[in-house]
């Protein structure tokens, strides 16, 4: 297990290093000078030069890359060009919205998808199965920003149960915070739930045909007991894979939803930073997302081993 962990960590580090190089090069190639963006149309050349010096933009690319990477290793992500505050602080603040939002959406989609998937699989071909499959088609087809707008019109504008967007801040209480995340979480969760339901169903159907299921039934378990004790656990591998992918997607892909609900999360930060040529923020946030995705994949691998003892055996 130790050997396995070491090997995985080394490849994780290599991935991050390569990613940092790609991110830096790609973003440096994009045209647009941050200093002239910040100073606007009336700025004089010497003013722009002064600001470039202040931001450290007049150093060579190699020097800037090295100082960026070595800073990140020490937990220092640099200073935002536009906000002039440490990037790490900004990101941490935004994560307190994006992370709960992604988790909330993941919990909602799991709560919807697991029962729906199991129900559909156990009534294969029946009315319930057809209905669930129909709904999941709809869930996949509806774009989540459009669904989000519908939710706002109904629950914020017409009924007044929620605000149309924004974030009250956790200091005003967990309930108030969760309340302002509810509509965004629902609109993020719906398409995810639809996909997860379909994966759950088909994965269960595969397992139900396996020999060990027949054995389980032969031992005298009811079909429900066999489903819960044996089939479910074995069907989890593809489901976990999808959940892992979805979590990364939820963090990175919340950009549109955060804009619809004007939530000050990570997605909106990237969006703003790209427009403002706040390159250091864009670079750092992308690196953070790469790190998150790599970590989630790693954790999902560990989870495979947990649900399937055979995988643990191989690795010893």
């Amino acid at each position: 297990m130790l050997h396995y962990l070491l090997k995985r960590s080394a490849s994780l580090l290599a991935t991050l290093l390569v990613a940092s190089l790609i991110v830096f090069v790609v973003i440096e190639v994009v045209p647009g000078d941050p200093a002239s963006y910040m100073l606007g149309m009336n700025a004089q050349p010497d003013t722009i030069a002064a600001l470039r010096t202040e931001l450290g933009l007049d150093e060579s690319r190699v020097a800037r890359y090295l100082s960026w990477v070595s800073g990140m290793v020490q937990g220092d992500f640099g200073r935002s060009y536009t906000y002039r505050t440490p990037v790490a602080e900004m990101v941490a603040e935004r994560l307190w919205i994006s992370l709960p939002l992604a988790s909330y959406a993941l919990v909602l989609s799991t709560l919807l998808a697991f029962p729906a998937g199991i129900w559909a699989a156990s009534r294969r071909g029946g009315i319930a199965d057809t209905a669930v499959m129909g709904f999941t088609q709809l869930g996949i087809a509806i774009p989540n920003f459009w669904f989000a707008l519908l939710l706002v019109l109904l629950f914020a504008v017409n009924l007044g149960w929620f605000t149309a967007g924004g974030f009250s801040g956790w200091q005003s209480g967990i309930f108030a915070g969760l309340k302002s995340l509810t509509l965004p979480a629902v609109s993020l969760a719906l398409p995810q739930a639809a996909i997860l339901t379909r994966v759950m169903r088909s994965s269960l159907l595969d397992v139900l045909n396996e020999d060990f299921m027949r054995t389980a039934r032969a031992k005298g378990l009811s079909s429900r007991q066999a489903m819960l004790r044996h089939a479910l656990r074995n069907a989890m591998i593809p489901v976990l894979t999808i959940m892992g992918l979805q979590f990364s997607f939820l963090i990175a892909g919340a950009i549109i939803i955060e804009n619809v609900f004007f939530l000050p999360g990570l997605g909106r930060l990237i969006f703003q930073s790209i427009a403002q040529r706040d390159l250091i923020v864009v670079e750092s946030v992308i690196m953070l997302l790469v790190f998150a995705v790599v970590m989630v994949t790693f954790l999902i691998d560990l989870a495979y081993a947990w649900v399937d003892p055979r995988l643990r055996q191989q690795r010893r």
Partner: protein, 492 residues
């Protein structure tokens, strides 16, 4: 049934009763863009002024709602030495929000800082003519000029010329400390800035106790936030498509005003084919302004025929000179030797007026035989390629700086118009302080650029604001991009 409805009914009744007795003293305003920082002397973003101008920071002079120049931290002034020396008497009772007293030292510090070699003031040009700032006594200051400048009082009213205290200036980007009627309270990045009433303000106390600026850039999000009651007002409302609907709703009032934004189709005067005045004139006559205002701006906007704001007393209406006349366009193109063979690029920055307006203009140009290939650019790219690199044929942009006709006297400006007569005229304008003579010179300048068809002048950008109908005192026009809350209150 009765029981279910009694509680909400009671709540509504309580609210109504308490509202009848006390007017609200807080306000939540929507603004489109988040300011990158809160120091108006160190960044170009109009979003900074939208929050801090006249609320947190004040300059020696300030813009009034109609664009006139009013005294602010300078109680009055006199002009000596044939316009070379301005002497300002300062407010005796002004203090900074951290308790520091305001004095001549702060004025000298702020202007010197803006003029310094390493200054990052985005409008450093405003101070270019200042020779030095001289402290006469703690409450009197003199500004000595290199040459007479009729624009000085106007220049000092800009957000970029506000007065900071040396002790707090370095942190102004995140913790602005000014002398205004509101002081900074809180900034939740990405979400909102909160300001509260400053009790020791030198001037007339404001009625609002607290104001929150909420950042919402998505038009649909702005619309739903207004409808859901999350916002009390959106002074520069980003979704003109919903204005008609909000206007008929008694809960809201829609206020239409004008901005300092001249929206133009700029032409690159230095490269072919637009170095030929006939081609420029042909483009101008190919354009139907009303169609653009209706199609791109839902009818909001005032047609202009020169680079000047129609609400300015010195404005000359020259729209007839550039009237829509496609036949004349075709004739001019033929004369210039470009019959049906002209293909040009039209580079568009992100704002709606440019993107939607660009589609319409491309279609109008096609009708007279000019093919305009549209390229959509991000702001930073636009600044780099078009503004700095001058690598463009045509572009659409709103010039929002107040009184900026002087850009036509700079041959290095992105549209590269080089006319010695106009340059001489602008030099004499800069040294002229007599208002009548200034008007005359300004009108001559407007006529010259209209005669030369430097650019195609489209429309003055409108300012459409939406507010709860009980809110009074918001600015209708925007002589500078600010949300001055000093006169805002809730009607009881």
């Amino acid at each position: 049934m009765n029981k279910r409805f009694s509680l909400p009914a009671l709540l509504v009744l309580t609210c109504a009763v308490s509202n009848a007795f006390a007017a609200r003293t807080d306000i939540i305003l929507g603004v489109q863009l988040e300011p990158p920082n809160l120091d108006p002397t160190a960044g170009a973003a109009a979003a900074i002024d939208e929050v801090v101008y006249a609320n947190i920071f004040e300059g020696l002079t300030r813009f009034g709602p109609d664009g006139s120049i009013k005294p602010a931290l300078a109680a009055g002034w006199s002009i000596e030495d044939e316009g070379l020396r301005y002497i300002f008497g300062l407010r005796a009772d002004a203090t900074f929000h951290d308790g520091a007293e305001f004095s001549a030292d702060d004025v000298k510090f702020s202007i010197d800082r803006a003029m310094a070699d390493d200054s990052t003031n985005a409008q450093k040009g405003l101070f270019a003519n200042i020779d030095n700032v001289e402290i006469i006594d703690p409450l009197t200051i003199a500004i000595n000029l290199k040459q007479p400048d009729g624009n000085l009082l106007f220049n000092l009213a800009w957000g970029d010329a506000v007065i900071l205290d040396p002790a707090s200036a370095a942190d102004a980007a995140t913790h602005p400390v000014g002398t205004g009627p509101f002081k900074f309270a809180n900034w939740v990045q990405g979400d909102r800035v909160e300001i509260v009433r400053y009790a020791d303000y030198w001037g007339k106390p404001v009625k609002l106790e607290k104001a929150t600026f909420k950042f919402i850039s998505e038009p649909t999000a702005a619309y739903s936030a207004i409808l859901a009651g999350d916002l009390d007002a959106f002074p520069n409302y980003p979704a003109p498509e919903n204005l008609a609907q909000l206007d008929v709703d008694p809960r809201y009032s829609v206020v239409l005003g004008s901005t300092e934004g001249e929206t133009i189709l700029a032409m690159n005067n230095a490269v072919a084919p637009f170095d030929d005045v006939r081609v420029r004139e042909a483009v101008v006559h190919a354009i139907n302004r009303d169609e653009i205002i209706d199609g791109a701006m839902y009818g909001y906007g005032t047609p202009i025929g020169t680079h000047f704001a129609p609400h300015n007393p010195a404005y000359l209406d020259l729209t007839a000179q550039s009237a829509f006349d496609p036949e004349k366009s075709k004739a001019l193109l033929k004369e210039a030797g470009h019959e049906n063979d002209l293909t040009v690029t039209l580079k568009l920055p992100p704002p709606v007026y440019a993107r939607r307006g660009g589609e319409i203009i491309a279609a109008q140009l096609r009708d007279v035989g000019i093919t305009a290939n549209i390229e959509n650019l991000e702001w930073a790219q636009w600044l780099e390629q078009v503004f700095k690199g001058k690598d463009f044929d045509l572009t659409i942009i709103s010039h929002t700086e107040p009184m900026d006709i002087g850009i036509y006297a700079n041959p290095d400006y992105y549209f590269q118009y080089d006319n010695a007569d106009l340059q001489a005229l602008m030099t004499s304008l800069n040294t002229e302080t007599d208002p009548d003579k200034r008007t005359e010179l300004l009108q001559q300048a407007q006529q010259i650029i209209a005669d030369d068809y430097v650019n195609a002048y489209l429309f003055q950008l409108a300012r459409a604001g939406v507010a709860n109908s009980r809110i009074k005192g918001l600015w209708e026009n925007s002589p500078t991009q600010a949300n001055d809350l000093t006169g805002v209150y809730w009607e009881e």
